[in-house]
């Protein structure tokens, strides 16, 4: 059975894809059935993924190699694309994590989406999403990966815009797609360059060839390729400056936010960089770029998150920030730290998003945290699981986030990136602060009398509990003392970093400081006087942060003024110059010359006869005086 699952890992993405097809063409009118089909599809995928992952992690030879098989997709002289499956510890971990989180979210969604007219459609979309994501993860070919990459983008577009009647949802969906498209432009260029330079897009083959890239190209070109490829992840994983779509993406239904914008899709960028680490690691400057982008994004998003008011937006910026951490880890060369954080993050962030969804259902989609408060009494399960998530993300041992974040910080320090380490550490403090600000404001303190919250039904709370458990124990696979994780998932050499107690203790202190500050400002101080005073005092900074550094406005301006303006210009050029002057000008010239010549057309027979005879005369003279033979023709050959 395990062998079968490993040899037929393509079934993992195929099952949800089948569910999508079945729902769209057969079961769409029956909501319960559709949900059943979707859940069956993803759970089936999970079972296969789990078996395949079990197979991978019980065969020690997989630490060195991977299982690759595929079929020809298209071929022509100079371009061969095989699609296939590449099963190694990293992808095995990913399919396990993705299908697990997806399964939980699907079950959660059966409760959350109840009564929505687009219930079946929703499940078809998420099934397609899961299929695409699993395809992306398992791909053995960069182009195949790109297919999955774009398909998850499509699903994200459809799901963000799921509430089609909302203009904000529609705009957010568009924004997400276009932003990712801009990034994909870079990725596509990178892929093209790889294809042209190395003649293949097969990941194992590329890895081999890039290791000896000097035979093919210069380091400068490879740097350019690396930067281009990195553009893709910047968009998909919401790194600065293309992070703008991610917070807006919260317009979608909450399970979507949990699924796409927390646990799975947004980490695709990180995963891609991880997969392509053989490319980046050849180019130190590219690695620096990845690391700096990651660290900066982490800090940048965390500062914005401090001032936001909507519960899902805070989580969204926190996601951006955490993705920055993962990038940072990759940039300093540690695949295992990055993947480890991705693993733990998937659990606690999905948990928090689903908790937020639970809160929103209870409060009828009132999203402002300042209007919540004291929810812990009415919604204990939601509240306490959320607290677990909060502890995990803040990095309090023994919760999952502590181990992974700690590993990232330690790696950054070990690789002598002191500035980046400081940024990461400060971000850890900010993370603890804003997350606990959210928790104190929403779940503790005084109840808002306008709210009448009720605890959510079992199919929403059970996934919460499971995820809370995972968010607690999920990090124990990678403790510094017995690091099973990095024995399996690593790049280059297995990392045997000794436990760095200094970093551990320091990060815990920072996290506790953040929580304490939030506790003082938002729990002890019931009237929030100090918080407001702070906002007043640093009004400029506060507004800047609250308005997300005005980046959206800049983009909007660029889009409207520059892009639309020039589009208008092109269009006017087209209708007035190309069409107006050249095409219609030619037409008008023809017509006008016709009008001019029309004067000669008097319509009077005698005029015509006159001209006719003139013509005869001219021809006769011309023939008679031009050549003897012509004259002979005219005069009957008697000359």
């Amino acid at each position: 059975m395990v062998d079968f699952a490993m040899q037929h890992a393509w079934l993992v993405p195929l099952l949800p894809a089948l569910a999508f097809v079945v729902i769209v063409f057969l079961t769409k009118p029956w909501q319960k059935l559709s949900a059943l089909v979707a859940v069956a599809g993803i759970v089936g995928a999970f079972v296969f993924a789990a078996l395949a992952a079990y197979g991978v992690f019980t065969h020690p030879e997989f630490t060195e190699g991977s299982l690759v098989y595929g079929v020809r997709w298209l071929s022509m002289p100079g371009l061969h694309i095989n699609v296939g499956i590449m099963l190694d510890p990293t992808s095995a971990m990913m399919i396990f994590m993705v299908s697990l989180v997806s399964s939980l979210i699907f079950i959660y969604a059966t409760g959350y989406m109840k009564g929505d007219p687009g219930f079946s459609v929703f499940f078809s979309y998420v099934s397609l999403f899961a299929a695409s994501m699993l395809l992306l993860v398992l791909s053995s070919n960069l182009l195949e990966m790109f297919v999955g990459w774009e398909l998850v983008g499509l699903c994200s577009y459809l799901l963000i815009g799921f509430y089609t009647h909302k203009i904000s949802a529609r705009e957010a969906a568009k924004k997400a797609f276009v932003t990712c498209r801009i990034a994909d432009f870079g990725l596509l260029l990178g892929m093209l360059s790889l294809q042209i330079v190395f003649g293949t897009l097969d990941l194992p083959e590329l890895a081999q060839k890039i290791a000896h890239f000097h035979q093919y190209t210069s380091a400068g070109v490879l740097t350019l390729i690396a930067v281009l490829v990195f553009l893709g992840p910047i968009g998909k994983s919401g790194q600065f400056p293309l992070h703008v779509w991610l917070p807006d993406a919260m317009e979608g239904p909450t399970p979507v936010s949990a699924l796409i914008h927390a646990a799975t899709m947004v980490v695709a960028g990180v995963y891609l960089v991880g997969r392509m680490l053989f490319l980046f690691s050849e180019i130190p400057s590219a690695m620096e770029l990845v690391a700096i982008t990651g660290a900066f994004t982490a800090l940048f998003a965390a500062t914005i998150a401090i001032t936001q008011r909507e519960i899902k937006r805070i989580l969204a910026y926190s996601t951006v920030s955490q993705l920055g951490y993962m990038m940072l880890a990759l940039g300093v060369g540690s695949l295992s730290a990055s993947m480890f954080h991705m693993w733990t993050h998937a659990f606690f962030k999905a948990l928090m998003f689903m908790g937020a969804g639970s809160v929103l259902t209870a409060l009828h989609h009132k999203a402002d945290v300042w209007e919540m408060g004291g929810l812990v009494k009415k919604m204990p399960i939601t509240a306490w699981t959320f607290v677990v998530g909060g502890l995990a993300i803040a990095g309090i041992p023994p919760f999952a986030g502590f181990w992974s974040k700690d590993e990232i910080l330690a790696t950054a320090l070990n690789s002598h990136h002191y500035v980046l380490f400081a940024m990461g550490a400060f971000t850890a403090f900010l993370t603890a602060f804003y997350m606990w600000r959210l928790i104190f404001l929403a779940f503790f303190g005084e109840e808002n009398p306008a709210n009448h919250p009720v605890e959510s039904p079992w199919n929403m709370t059970v996934p919460l509990i499971i995820l809370a458990a995972l968010a607690t124990v999920g990090g124990w696979v990678g403790t510094p003392w017995d690091n099973v994780w990095s024995q399996w998932i690593f790049f280059g050499e297995v990392e045997h970093a000794a436990p760095n107690y200094g970093v551990m203790i320091g990060s815990v202190i920072l996290a506790l400081a953040g929580i304490y500050l939030a506790y003082q400002l938002y729990y002890v101080d019931r009237e929030k006087v100090k918080a407001k005073a702070l906002a007043e005092r640093y009004h400029g900074i506060y507004t800047l942060l609250f308005n997300k550094y005005y980046i959206d406005e800049i983009y909007l301006w660029f889009n409207h003024a520059i892009v639309d303006g020039s589009a208008k210009l092109f269009y006017l050029f087209d209708i007035y110059v190309v069409d107006g002057i050249i095409v219609n000008g030619l037409g008008a010239f023809t017509r006008l010359s016709g009008e001019g010549l029309r004067i000669t057309e008097t319509g009077r027979l005698q005029n015509y006869a006159l001209v006719f005879f003139l013509g005869v005369l001219i021809i006769a003279v011309a023939l008679a005086f031009s050549s003897p033979s012509a004259a002979g023709l005219l005069l009957g050959g008697v000359k």
Partner: protein, 506 residues
């Protein structure tokens, strides 16, 4: 099936249906449409059969049929298909069949409409299976007349009147074909002088044509480039395309954008490139530059449009820019991409136009600000529209992605920075396509459209046929590419051989 004239029957089936239609009373509305559907269905089924029965390992022309016609001009009625013409043949019939159903609600003089439509389909088909230049031109001219009549009678007047649109379309086509004709006649005279015997078949022309001097090849190719280019809406000869499509009835837009336009690209590869390789090599950079101009320019212009058909009109100019860019790269990968992209764009544009046609039929508007939220009222229509939109922006998993990718590979290799501009076109494409989709389908539903009926029954056929082609072609690209490749590789080998013979010229 040995000796069975499949191609001839494929070609004649719509003509026969048109003939039968002339004997049907004009108020037998349903019957007329059914006969038209049957006629096109036979063609579609046969071309599918031919597509899969074609022996790719053997390559070359198959299903050949040859009847000498005008001996003095070396004209033979020569039908045959290879890897380049087969996708086009299949495309024609897929779209033709769908177009009949897309015009299922035509109630104004349906008999005349369907007779002309069937003749149009047959004419387009003929250009793709003719292996003789004379026959090719003959079919090409056959196509022009029905188009004109269809546009001026059944068209719609928006920014420009339908008469203007029809005139513009027709005159552009005729000007293009005029230049083409000059080129063809000159080519014929020169090749006859070289070969000694007149021969109008592509292979015959090619053999003699390649022996032409560089100068002759250059100016002949320029004439052909202009002729085929204006048919392909090559920038700056593109302005008939948006106006023409906007004025034309749905079925004509589908066929025109879907296949008729592709005659230009097909001819460019099949005739101009094949016969005059040295000229092609000389003009290739120009073709590429014009292609890139078309991509960027039309995409930007599409961004400023508010009429759905204008958006697709400009977008098709933009997509044809990719084809030109690919042709300009003069490589196996590029030409593979060019032919495949023509197929992909054909399916996509036809689906797009049929969906827009239904939207227009139901809401009586194509003006985007007047619409919104149609996804709620007509979900299937919305699904079709989005499918086409996604194909248009080159979503992987749909038919247009791989062709675009191959074009990018080829052109990036040859032209580098120039190709980057074209690749950047995918961003703009995404922007305008998504804008159009979002503003039409999403957002708050409008109550005046609450009563709209979603597409149903026969109206679903275009979505089903073309949608299937989009998805199958996208998921199994080798179905398309193996076929195209089997045609392009020998073609390119011959071209390269001819280029090496004259080597040193460049």
């Amino acid at each position: 099936m040995e000796g069975f004239p499949v191609l001839l029957i494929t070609l004649l089936s719509p003509v026969l249906a048109a003939l039968i239609l002339t004997f049907i009373p004009r108020d037998e509305n349903k019957l007329i449409k059914c006969i038209a559907a049957v006629g096109t269905f036979i063609s579609m089924a046969l071309s599918l059969y031919v597509y899969f029965a074609y022996d790719k390992s053997l390559g070359g022309l198959q299903f050949v049929m040859q009847v000498p016609w005008i001996k003095d001009l070396g004209v033979t009625f020569f039908l045959g298909v290879d890897g380049i013409s087969l996708p086009m043949l299949l495309l024609t019939n897929l779209i033709g069949f769908s177009a009949v159903f897309a015009s299922w609600n035509v109630d104004h003089r349906p008999k005349d409409f369907f007779i002309l439509l069937l003749l149009l389909i047959a004419g387009v088909m003929g250009t793709f299976i003719a292996q003789d230049l004379f026959i090719f031109l003959l079919f090409y001219e056959v196509v022009v007349i029905p188009i004109y009549i269809l546009v001026i009678i059944w068209g719609s007047t928006k920014r420009v009147t339908k008469e203007y649109a029809g005139m513009k379309l027709t005159i552009y086509l005729l000007i293009g074909s005029g230049f083409l004709l000059v080129g063809v006649i000159a080519l014929f005279m020169k090749t006859t002088a070289i070969a000694g015997v007149p021969d109008m078949s592509f292979t015959g022309l090619a053999e003699a044509g390649r022996r032409l001097g560089a100068f002759d090849q250059k100016w002949l190719f320029a004439l052909m480039l202009f002729g085929f280019g204006s048919l392909l809406s090559m920038w700056p000869f593109h302005s008939w395309s948006p106006d023409g499509y906007a004025g034309a009835p749905t079925a004509v837009s589908m066929i025109h954008a879907g296949v008729l336009k592709k005659i230009g690209g097909y001819g460019l590869i099949r005739i101009a490139l094949f016969v005059l390789p040295v000229g092609a090599k000389f003009w290739a950079p120009l073709i590429a530059v014009l292609g890139v101009c078309g991509v960027a320019y039309a995409a930007m212009a599409a961004l400023a449009q508010k009429d759905l058909k204008y958006i697709v009109g400009y977008s098709s100019v933009s997509h044809m820019g990719y084809v030109l860019l690919a042709i300009g790269s003069m490589s196996v990968i590029g030409l593979n991409g060019a032919v495949a992209n023509m197929f992909a764009h054909g399916v996509m544009a036809a689906l797009f136009f049929s969906m827009i046609g239904f939207i227009y039929e139901k809401t009586h508007t194509r003006w985007i600000p007047d619409m919104g939220g149609l996804a709620r009222q007509t979900p299937r229509l919305a699904a079709g529209f989005m499918l086409a939109a996604m194909a248009s922006l080159g979503l992987p998993g749909l038919v247009s992605f791989i062709p675009e990718f191959t074009i990018f590979v080829a052109s990036f290799k040859v032209y580098g920075g120039l190709a980057v501009i074209a690749i950047a076109g995918i961003i703009i494409t995404a922007l305008y396509v998504l804008r159009a989709g979002a503003n039409t389908l999403f957002g708050p539903p409008r109550h005046e459209y609450d009563h709209l009926k979603d597409i149903h029954g026969p109206e679903l056929v275009p979505l089903a046929v073309l949608g299937t082609a989009l998805v199958v072609g996208g998921l199994l690209p080798f179905l398309l590419f193996d076929m195209v490749n089997s045609g392009i590789v020998p073609l390119m080998a011959q071209i390269n051989g001819a280029l090496q013979m004259v080597g040193g010229v460049f």
